[in-house]
């Protein structure tokens, strides 16, 4: 069995009077690829945000891990240029991947817009910028919330390659699991307020 990255035990969470999660438990080990499934509003995004913050007492991290996150919101300053954003987030996260930025810009065809403010970007370009921002961190766990929304076909393929070659674990919220069944090591599915956890195979550790 691979070492555990994070263990969630009996997570209860509510926003206002609305209970979002009740007794939710799962575990993510090293080098696993989990699919997070469920209908709209089932709690996928909330779970990813909670996990990313990691401050809830239900989460147990055996060792301190780095996580990166691509959510519905970009996590970028829209008034600043892509260059300024990547430099800023690279510095605060002590990134060792800054030299890879030109390569990612090439991959996602953003080189020409590197100096433009984010608010001038299309939705797909914003998403690609957020993906590059998340790649700056040398993370052990990559949290992605429907990252393919708004991406063109070429970028979808590039992101798939990045997912395949990613060295850590992945938790991917998606409505199209069939594309990733060959890669995934398990799925977590929200059904009637419960989280059904099914491991397909042991992690590739």
């Amino acid at each position: 069995m691979s070492p555990t990255l994070v263990k969630c035990q009996n997570l209860d969470y509510q926003i206002g009077y609305k209970r979002i999660f009740k007794n939710l438990s799962f575990e993510i080990q090293e080098k696993e690829f989990w699919l997070l499934l469920g209908d709209n509003g089932s709690g996928k995004s909330t779970l990813l945000k909670l996990l990313y913050h990691g401050t809830h007492s239900a989460f147990y991290f055996p060792k301190k891990i780095q996580m990166s996150y691509v959510g519905h919101s970009l996590g970028l300053y829209s008034s600043l240029s892509l260059k300024e954003n990547l430099e800023y987030f690279g510095t605060i996260s002590h990134s060792k991947n800054i030299e890879k930025i030109p390569q990612w810009l090439e991959t996602f065809r953003l080189k020409k817009r590197y100096l433009d403010p984010i608010h001038t970007f299309s939705e797909g370009m914003k998403k690609k910028s957020a993906i590059i921002r998340s790649l700056l961190i040398d993370s052990e766990l990559w949290l992605l919330d429907e990252p393919f929304n708004g991406l063109d076909q070429a970028s979808v393929e590039e992101l798939k390659k990045l997912l395949i070659n990613f060295s850590g674990s992945i938790l991917l919220a998606t409505h199209n699991p069939e594309k990733f069944l060959s890669l995934a090591t398990g799925e977590m599915k929200f059904e009637n307020g419960n989280l059904l956890v099914r491991r397909y195979v042991e992690s590739s550790y």
Binding site: H53, T55, Y69, E84, I92
Partner: protein, 219 residues
């Protein structure tokens, strides 16, 4: 890290041309309004002018804080910041940056007040002592503004709630700050008691803000 945070704040303000224009037009409009409405017919007393100055600075601090926190919230950049940086560092850098901008605005405002109002004279002692009280008051305003802006982010009203939260808590700062400045003018002496009280406000609002930032306020 600190350098990156300060650079980010400078860049964000530099790009917020609307906020800078709002600050300028609001400050100038209030001055013109009081100058043509009151000073033209009867000279305003020093207490009125000092009150006007603190009032303008309060409104400007609200615009600056509101603009700055909107930038953090708009694309949820704060979420990424919180994952990598101690939250109190974000609070301190934003507060001190807003304080620094307010001091610049104050410098500009002092010149305009001397030009427009006859009874407002910047004598050496009044200027020196007044600057100390004003600086302490502005720092308290910045701490309080940034602190409450993060609280207001976790409500549905967002920045719209900020003035409602800000107004009652700034009244003590106004009372002691204005009083100290007025006394400094009339007695030409340093108001030690007011100075200490304003220092205490800074310690209180600064530590309270840093503490609140450490709490989970996401949803």
């Amino acid at each position: 890290m600190w350098k990156a945070l300060i650079k980010k704040e400078i860049l964000l303000l530099g790009r917020a041309k609307n906020a800078v224009l709002s600050v300028l037009s609001l400050g100038l409009s209030m001055l013109f309004l009081f100058y043509f409405g009151l000073e033209g017919t009867e000279n305003l007393s020093l207490s009125h002018i000092l009150g006007l100055k603190w009032g303008i600075l309060f409104l400007i601090s609200y615009i600056l804080v509101g603009q700055s926190v909107w930038e953090e919230r708009e694309s949820e950049a704060f979420r990424i910041n919180h994952a990598h940086l101690p939250r109190f560092s974000l609070f301190l850098v934003k507060s001190f940056f807003i304080f620094f901008v307010l001091v610049l605005v104050l410098g500009f405002l002092q010149i305009l007040l001397v030009v427009f109002f006859e009874k407002y004279k910047l004598e050496k002692n009044f200027f020196l002592h007044g600057s100390i009280y004003l600086s302490l008051g502005l720092l308290s305003l910045s701490f309080l503004g940034v602190n409450l802006s993060y609280l207001s982010q976790s409500t549905r009203l967002k920045e719209m709630l900020l003035p409602v939260l800000l107004t009652p808590l700034t009244i003590p700062i106004f009372l002691f700050g204005l009083d100290a400045e007025k006394n400094a003018f009339f007695t030409n002496s340093f108001q030690e008691k007011s100075f200490l009280i304003l220092c205490l406000f800074n310690i209180l609002y600064g530590s309270l803000g840093a503490l609140i930032m450490e709490l989970e306020l996401d949803e």
